[in-house]
């Protein structure tokens, strides 16, 4: 009888975290809006570190403003910084949306960001007249000392729909809350929606902003805006959709709000990684839209099944895999490696969420393998665990690269951040096609590490 063994952190100190603070999630969400700019109400590091992180992972610029709090703000409050910051951003960048993101500092100081935003709105009205109304200023509370970046992402999506969604004519579209995933993933979701003859509203869509073409003739005007992102009209229209699917279990509040306020039914699921999770995603689309599953999509599924039939048993079966990272991706990934006949013997997430462990129990039953769940843990815990409990493969972000090197375990990069390899942000791990990509990646890694030494096995 397979079982799940939950191992929680037994020390206070955190060593090599697998999570970060709320503001990052909110910045990520706002960067996915067309002409949307986050302004972080905090110290300069609060934006600089995140911009550094996004640049390193996506190899793209990310514009995130900051109110640059200093000692005087710590004493007297950050009112003048935030009011001036919003105005400067609005006047120079001409954005559609400004997401005002709080931090540990501004929450501790007790700044009334809603009041300050109103003041800034008033000032802009004086300077810009009617045009000021075109700029939406949306406060997003993201205290850094509460939960993690996922909570920040959830809070941002919720604030956006609460502030913008307006009931109007039904639009026959489907809202998708994608979670903290890559441009390639979002493009795959769009592809699936297209095959299901469905139009989506992504809350929000970082696919173009974080994977933008280099075409100087298109972007010669100052300021540079990346193309794409969810438009303000789409955000407003999210109240009129057929339904909302959040493929991030940890960011369902926005979906729930839309359901409560505008009767948009919602479904909150694990991301479509692998066969069964993608099947579920497709069923959800079908349910909301009434559209049947297209032959083309079924063929894609068939191609993934075909390559699993061809390769999984021969090369992958029974191999032990350890997975670490964000909770939604690790859940999806654990199920997929199980589908490949591998054993997810250890799954670690830095973020705590009540549904994580029950999900792991389901996967354990399904795969028949015991899973050690490192719950709310860090990468040091992964390292110590792996020294005692070796595995064949490690799946996770680049922060585990030195552990993998030291232990001689091949690391398959997935999640955020990946900075020591290129192109991962462009590929999808979602959908049937993402499954094919992942499976090839996993299989080729196994072949290189475990088959090359006996290379004759690779002759056919």
């Amino acid at each position: 009888m397979s079982c799940v063994n939950v191992i929680e952190k037994d020390r206070n100190v955190i060593i090599n975290p697998l999570k970060t603070c709320q503001p990052l999630g909110a910045m990520f969400a706002v960067n996915g809006i067309n002409k949307g700019f986050p302004i972080v109400h905090g110290s300069q590091g609060c934006s600089a570190f995140v911009r550094y992180g996004f640049a390193r992972h996506f190899r793209e610029p990310s514009e995130i403003a900051v109110t640059a709090l200093h000692e005087d703000a710590a004493v007297f409050g950050g009112r003048s910084n935030l009011v001036a910051g919003i105005e400067n951003l609005a006047l120079r960048f001409n954005p559609d949306i400004i997401g005002v993101i709080t931090t540990c500092s501004s929450e501790i100081i007790g700044d009334d960001v809603y009041g300050f935003a109103d003041t800034a709105r008033g000032n802009l009205k004086e300077k810009l007249g009617e045009d000021a109304d075109k700029i939406e200023i949306i406060p997003i509370n993201t205290p850094s000392f509460v939960e993690s970046h996922y909570k920040g992402y959830d809070n941002a999506i919720n604030a956006l729909v609460n502030h913008l969604a307006r009931k109007d004519e039904p639009n026959e579209k489907l809202n998708i809350i994608p979670g903290i995933i890559n441009p390639g993933d979002i493009r795959e979701l769009k592809h699936i929606l297209a095959l299901m003859d469905t139009e989506g509203i992504f809350l929000t869509d970082i696919s173009d902003p974080f994977d933008a073409p280099l075409r100087p003739s298109k972007t010669k005007e100052i300021p540079y805006y990346p193309k794409g992102g969810t438009t303000i009209e789409e955000l407003r229209d999210s109240a009129n959709s057929l339904g909302t699917v959040s493929i991030c279990k940890y960011a369902g509040t926005g979906a729930t709000s839309l359901q409560r306020e505008h009767n948009v039914p919602s479904k909150i699921e694990t991301p479509p990684i692998g066969i069964q999770n993608t099947d579920q995603f497709v069923r959800n689309i079908s349910k909301f839209t009434g559209n049947s599953v297209s032959e083309e999509l079924l063929d894609e599924r068939g191609m993934l099944v075909d390559s699993m039939a061809d390769n999984a048993a021969r090369y992958l079966f029974g191999r032990k895999v350890a997975i670490y990272g964000d909770p939604d991706l690790t859940t999806g990934m654990a199920r997929f490696v199980g589908e490949l006949g591998m054993e997810p013997t250890m799954v670690c997430t830095g973020v705590k969420y009540p549904e994580f462990n029950p999900d792991m129990e389901k996967i354990s039953k399904e795969t028949g393998s015991d899973i050690d769940v490192l719950y709310g843990q860090d990468l040091r815990a992964v390292e110590v665990y792996l020294k005692e409990n070796p595995v064949d493969l490690l799946i996770g972000n680049s922060d585990g690269r030195l552990i993998a090197l030291d232990l001689g375990i091949p690391l398959i990069r997935m999640g955020f951040p990946v900075y020591d390899r290129v192109g991962y942000q462009r590929h999808s791990v979602l959908g049937y096609r993402g499954g094919m990509y992942l499976m090839d990646l996993i299989t080729n890694t196994v072949l290189e590490k475990y088959y090359e030494p006996t290379h004759w096995k690779l002759q056919q």
Binding site: N12, P23, Q44, V50, A68
Partner: protein
Amino acid sequence: MPYKLLEVDKKIPQRKNHVYVKHCSDPEEEIPDCNTKTVPGSMSERGCAFAGVKGVITGAIKDVIHVVHSPIGCTSYGYGTKRYPTTPDMPNGEKFPIDNFNLKYILGTDLQESDVVFGGMKKLKKSLIEAHKEFPEATAIYTYSTCTTGLIGDDLDAVAKEVSEELGIEVVAFNAPGFCGPSQSKGHHVGNMTLFENLVGTKEPLQTTPYDVNLIGEYNIDGDLWIIKKYLEEMGINLLSKFTGDCCHDEICWMHRAKLSLVRCQRSATYIADLIKEKYDVPYIKVDFFSTKYCAENLRTIGKYFGLEEAAEKVIESRMEKVGPELEFYKSKLQGKRVFIFSGGPKSYHLSKPLEDELGMETVAVASQFEHKDGYEKMKGRVKEGTLIVDDPNSLEFEEIIQVYKPDLILAGVKEKYLAHKLGVPCLLIHSYENGPYIGFEGFVNLAKDMYSNIYSPVWNMLEFEEEPTEIEENIEIKEDSSKQETKPENTGELA
């Protein structure tokens, strides 16, 4: 007027005093305003004081544990951001058991709401004790205050003292919460002061020689320090202490025993050289090892100080023999290329003139995130008339500078690199390099090579789709040259 209000700054006219165009007739004291608070919402590239202390100063030390007293973000962001490699070599000849310990781990207190309400000192104490238990091999523990702990008033010094007494290991508290000072520069300062006050003079070196130096402000970015170390050792000079590249905690404790301090990064570390001079009478000289000319000049100065002139000449000669011809090649390729240098601090003046004198390039603009007055004076002194000098540029200014000054290459950081690319201009990482090291003779060749490959990457000739194919000439470099020259404006500083 030499101060210039850029088009993009019309709405924030206070930026005018930070943007300066050099004219030879200007009064000498005229430089951009600097080391002042950033304009909120301006999209500045600056970081915070915590980044300055942990990211720059202490993160390079190989045998200490870093415990960040913060909500989770600061700890996560403090991990693995700088390229500061270390060897396991310890001063007593032993090896530190964990390779690249400084790059491999970061620890933190992961403060929660209840800690913010009731104070985080108890959790810090527990965390420090656990840190020691987890890594007993570490020589010392450094702990860092952040915005949260600065605001709630946690007394890190008290906790450090208590834990230090309890564990019998040195625990040092760095009080540079993110909001203190206008930029990361404040963190450098706090780092210097803290290390000086707590460490320097507390230990004696295992042995001394008449040729002992402190190499200060060299952090071993991508191996820079190892290059300088080799030159100095070949001259017969002993690196008694490094501050802080590839260095051990104990080395800082005996910095007072050096005969001379060499200050490499003069923005982040002149503080400690001054303090050591004042208290222990160790003189210092400011050194510059970027480019062959500065490197040779400075090695000669050091040689002269110690009476090792011949040894210095030997080092210079042996290196120049090899790099001379290579640099000639790169000079022929880089001749006339317009460069915009946007460094964190001093590289803007370290590199501006060598790129012109030794590689034939034209420095059209220099900028810095956090330089102070002395740095801008040097910057101004080393650029020619008409060059733009900008303090703390923001991303719109960055775009305007690209549009107006039309650089062929930008040297900047990772936050700027991809924006430059989107505007069609190659950009090379200058904070922590691409294929470094960049210092010294060989390093300057690496830099020249990286600049060459960035500018001459064939991609820049195919940016736009053309209805009719253009013949790819055999020598694309010549084609590239002539096409660029046609569109080159004079340095008028007007929007194109």
